[in-house]
Every structure is written in structure tokens, then in C-alpha cells.
Symmetry: D2
Subunit: 104 residues, 4 copies
């Protein structure tokens, strides 16, 4: 993410004195809660795409609060994990399959 | 996020022919599943921070796949939602309180 | 649930001195975590039904631990909620529709 | 659960012609969604216990719809899983510890 978004989020929380609530555990709960609200947009097979956009933003927002709280760079951890996943799912074995790696 | 991360994610999925699995609904399920794995790092009150970093990366990764699939800019939707949240939680009313806005 | 199942669960936790971990909050987290493992059986559109049965059992187990911890009778709270839901979704309005009640 | 609760749930869904929406996958999503609403009662460290009771009832309700849909007896699957868990976590090794079994 661009650093300026992180700064805006920090300022938002700071102005409201909300950093006290942003423990890693509370943020982990919040990410799960917002993820479920996103899932709710797809609950019965139909979809409300405008609502989905907003809920996705909520999940992302809490993820950014959490990476900031843990002193992590969101781009860097995504890249580091992608590197690991590339090795776990080599192109030849994984092509066109959604199996878990232990069934490839 | 920086555009280059998005490009790497696209390439990763494309090489494995995984775009077919990345429907908005499947991605919404995946975000919830990874969010719960992150929560599991805090399940019994203790924390495994290294595991948390990796699970947070997984949640972010699926969020980026989803925003890309929906044609959205992750920074932009976070900012747009922040603007709404600022209005819902005015500084004076929200300071130091974790209540939902309807109880402020 | 039959009382004998609740008794077995209590005994299981007590023998392992696990009641100390079974705070309402930890149980709420555990229910979300297990629910996501159940969801994972349906992640990519295919299903592993044997795994689903076991994950469903895990969700139920933590729900029973929680109702027991809160001094609630699981049958009774399901019935009480059903009564409320019946009123919220009158048969004539709700028939064949999956809309949320505010869109009926 | 007592069979009469299951019967009431069946009747509730049937009257509203909602069985069509109760696919195993939709129910799995619904269980995750309701589990997150339960978790929300504990989001910021404070708790709304009345709300928690009702959300727990919602999780249980969808679990019962799902076990019924899969032709499973909820008591029986809880018992079967408990038997497995007893073996995975022998009393002597597990006493007073919340580690995952692979770290016992």
C-alpha cells in the first residue's frame, strides 16, 4: 500500500484515541468479523457487489492497522509469502488444480 | 499497494491457471478462511507472532486478488471507506470509545 | 442436545484441566475458527463431505461448551430464537425468498 | 439435540420454501457468518452477553440445519469426534496445556 494511506489510517485512529483498542488480538478478531460481512454478500448465492466493495475495504483497513501495529510492511509480507507459495505449488504440478499442496 | 505486487500476484495465478478458481465468491470464502487462521494465532490468549505475520499475509493476498478481480484499487477503496467512517464517528463523540456508532 | 453429551464434554475438559481456557471469549474465537475449517471443505466449489462432518462436529462441540459455560440450554435458546425469527419472516412474505427481512 | 427441535426447524424452513437455499455450502457460509456475529460480541474486549446468547443460538440453528441436511445426528457426530479428540490429547500429556497436539 502507499505509505500515505497508512498515515491517514494512523491519524484517524490517533485523533479518536483508538490505538488503545487496536491490540493485535482485537485486530485479528476484527479482520474475521469484517471477512464474514464480506462473505455475507455471497451468502445465498446472489451477490450485492456494492456492499462487497465496502466490506472488502473494511477487511483491508483492519489488515493495514494490524500490519502497522506489528511493524510490518504489507507489500513486503505479501511478497515474502508469495515466494514461499511459489515453491509449495510448482507450476507443473499445480496447473489447473485447486487441490491442497499435499494432494498435488 | 504498489502495482508491482498486484502484477506478481496476477502472474502467479496465471502461470498456474488458477484464475478459474478465483471467482468473487471463492475469494470471499478464502478471505474468511485465512482470517480464521490468523485468529487461531490468538485462540487461547497466547500468541505465535511469526505465524500471525504469515497468516496476515494470506488474508492480504486474497484481498488483493479480490480487489483485482473486481477491478478495484485497494488504496482507493480503503480511502473512500475511511472518509465515510470519519463522518460516522466524529472525533468529539468517538474519542476513547469503542461503542458502535449507534451508541455514541 | 441430550444432557449426557454435555456431561461427557464437561468430563473431557475437566480431566484435562481445560476449563481455565474455556472463557466465553476464547470459545467465541474457537467457534469462528472451526466454522472456517468447515467452510474450507467448500472453498473451491468441490466438497470433502467426510471432512465436513468432522468440522461440523467441532463447531457444535464448541457451541455446547459455550452454552454450558453461559448456563444456557442449547435446545431452549434455539427454540427462543426460532420464535423470534418466525415473527420477523412471516410465511406469506418470506416464501421462496432469501432476502434479508428489511427487503421483504 | 432433541428430535422435536429438529422437527420445528424443518417445519420453519419448509413453510417458507427455504430448503432450496439450504445447500451444504450455503449453510457452511451461514455458520461462519453467524460465528463472526457471535465473535463481534467480544470484539473490543467488552461483552454484550444478551446479544451473545442470541448469536450462539444462530450458530447452533445453522449447525442443526446442516446436520439435518447431511443426514447426520448432531449428538452422534459430537460424540464420535470427542472419542477421537480423547485419543489425540491423552489426559497425562494434555493436562493444563492449550498447545496443539503436535506440540504436546
Amino acid at each position: 500500500m502507499h505509505e500515505s494511506v497508512i498515515r491517514e489510517l494512523r491519524e484517524f485512529a490517533s485523533e479518536r484515541e483508538w490505538e488503545q483498542f487496536h491490540t493485535p488480538e482485537n485486530l485479528a478478531k476484527s479482520i474475521s468479523i469484517e471477512a464474514a460481512e464480506l462473505l455475507e454478500c455471497f451468502q445465498w448465492g446472489t451477490t450485492d457487489m456494492d456492499a462487497a466493495e465496502e466490506e472488502l475495504a473494511d477487511v483491508l483497513t483492519y489488515c493495514l492497522f494490524m500490519s502497522d501495529r506489528l511493524g510490518l510492511d504489507p507489500d513486503a509480507i505479501v511478497r515474502a509469502k508469495l515466494e514461499k507459495t511459489r515453491e509449495k505449488y510448482p507450476i507443473e504440478k499445480a496447473r489447473g488444480r485447486s487441490d491442497k499442496y499435499d494432494r498435488l
